[in-house]
């Protein structure tokens, strides 16, 4: 999971707004631009930035290779559906540039920081709260699910198709029942810490950097200029 790197990379402490703006602006320019040169520059630039963020090269190459296969075959599919070979190549490079921007974001910016940005831009607090809870309990439930599945398969629960369907039905409904109980327990535990309806927590402070903002601006202008030539 890229989540692992998001918390431990070298630019974890860069202001998340800067990272979001960098990722989104490069992505938007790539998607709008008709220039394959822009797409290639964005791809290389993101690779360099992720290298600087100390994302292990082997991991990045691995995940990029997977993306390459998907994007390649996806472009072929699009070519089959609609456009010619040249068009397919264009779609291929464009998608690859956008994916680079996307991976930059998810490899360097923890979900917790993205949530704090969403809070800042006045996304309704109910959404932020639901997202925060979802994020936290995804991991709790994944762990439970994986362990329950192991326990089921050690009792032959996935031996044959019939057993498998039955076991999976039981697995999902037991997870649902657990989720209901978990909500009860959580409510109790939070009430005992003074919960009255708002899930307010301390926001982590980030320092914005003039250098980063300048760099992002220069890069964006540079990409736009290249693209419009």
């Amino acid at each position: 999971m890229p989540d692992r790197f998001a918390y431990s990379n070298a630019i974890r402490d860069v202001h998340p707004v800067e990272k979001l703006v960098f990722s989104f602006s490069c992505m938007a320019i790539s998607l709008i631009s008709g220039s394959t040169a822009v797409h290639l520059i964005v791809f290389m630039m993101m690779a360099v930035v992720l290298f600087m963020a100390r994302i292990p090269l082997r991991y990045y190459v691995g995940i990029m290779f997977k993306a390459f296969v998907f994007v390649f075959l996806g472009s072929v599919a699009v070519a089959y559906g609609a456009v010619d070979l040249k068009g397919a190549a264009f779609v291929f490079f464009r998608a690859f540039a956008a994916i680079s921007c996307f991976y930059f974001l998810i490899f360097t910016t923890p979900a917790a920081d993205i949530l704090s940005v969403l809070r800042k831009i006045r996304i309704p607090s109910i959404i932020i709260e639901l997202m925060g809870l979802t994020y936290r309990f995804i991991f709790v439930f994944m762990d439970i699910t994986q362990k329950t599945r192991t326990a089921q398969s050690s009792r032959l629960g996935y031996d044959g198709l019939k057993n498998s369907y039955r076991s999976m039905g039981i697995l999902i409904s037991s997870l649902f029942a657990r989720m209901l109980r978990q909500a009860d327990y959580l409510n109790t535990a939070l009430e005992s810490r003074g919960f009255t309806g708002e899930l307010n927590v301390m926001q982590r402070g980030f320092k914005s950097s003039a250098v980063n903002i300048a760099a992002i601006t220069v890069i964006d202008i540079f990409l736009i200029v290249i693209g419009s030539r």
Partner: protein
């Protein structure tokens, strides 16, 4: 400090607490023993108003608790609860965020919240986990984070529901050490546990519950010398005490008024 008077509680129609009367004195360490289903957790949840007695009452410093928002909020400020399973208590993405939840609810200033978070993370020895996402923590670390989240509210009474269950040796020692230091700074502690040896060596007072009622309360030596009580409550004698008593009876050791509580103390007697 806290007093239960004739507290009765039922889940649906099953009686969980039956006329429990009990006084918790300020500054002491209490161990709450009893078989599964004896009503320990139910009793603990009454102490900060999460559960409300069906009959009877809970008093804080002699004043009866009323179950409306402001009084409850005041109660919960003073009585913190650490639940058995840290997974139900940690709800936030990172440790610092989670620990800040209680202080935020107290309406403290941002600086004060930050200070409380740092202090309680330090007290629990997990300051370096501050910005870690909750889901990367080990079970023991989650437990410590849950404890930090409660002590950040600076409660006067700390209620601990089986705080050492499932912890390995190292985290167990760490947790007990935190409790001792809190107690040293004046916090009253009430801990439910199945660990009889721990209750014997750690507690100032032992409370024994059985079938929703208090079967006994006293110093560890009083409680664990009461063979009748131990038997009827499915408890047994701590091994250190039992061997010590045998050795006294055999005349190997001489009674000198100081009964060993820790294993090492007993072994030292035998040097």
């Amino acid at each position: 400090m806290i007093e239960a008077k004739g507290v009765t509680f039922k889940y649906d129609s099953v009686t969980a607490l039956n006329d429990v009367s009990l006084r918790i004195e300020r500054g002491l360490k209490y161990a709450l023993l009893g078989a599964n289903g004896a009503g320990k957790t139910t009793f603990l949840l009454h102490l900060n108003g999460i559960l409300r007695p069906l009959s009877g009452k809970i008093l804080l410093d002699g004043v009866e608790i009323i179950y409306e928002r402001k009084a409850l909020s005041n109660l919960r400020r003073r009585v913190g609860v650490v639940f058995q399973d840290p997974e139900v208590q940690l709800f936030s993405a990172t440790v610092a965020e989670d620990v800040s939840f209680g202080p935020m609810n107290l309406g403290l200033s941002p600086e004060e919240v930050k200070k409380r978070v740092d202090d309680s993370l330090n007290a629990c020895g997990i300051y370096e986990l501050k910005e870690r996402p909750t889901h990367f923590l080990s079970h023991g670390q989650k437990k410590l984070a849950a404890i930090a989240g409660v002590i950040a509210m600076e409660p006067q009474v700390l209620v601990l529901d089986e705080p050492i269950a499932g912890l390995d040796h190292v985290h167990r020692e760490q947790v007990i050490d935190i409790f001792s230091r809190l107690n040293g700074s004046g916090v009253t502690l009430i801990m439910s546990t199945h660990d009889i040896d721990l209750a014997y060596e750690w507690a100032d007072r032992v409370i024994v519950m059985k079938d929703g009622a208090v079967a006994g309360i006293g110093t560890p030596i009083e409680i664990f010398s009461d063979e009748q009580l131990l038997k009827s409550s499915f408890l047994y004698k701590p091994i250190v005490l039992e061997i010590y008593e045998r050795l006294i009876r055999r005349g190997v050791l001489k009674e000198d008024g100081i009964v060993p509580r820790f294993r090492d103390e007993l072994l030292r007697c035998l040097e």
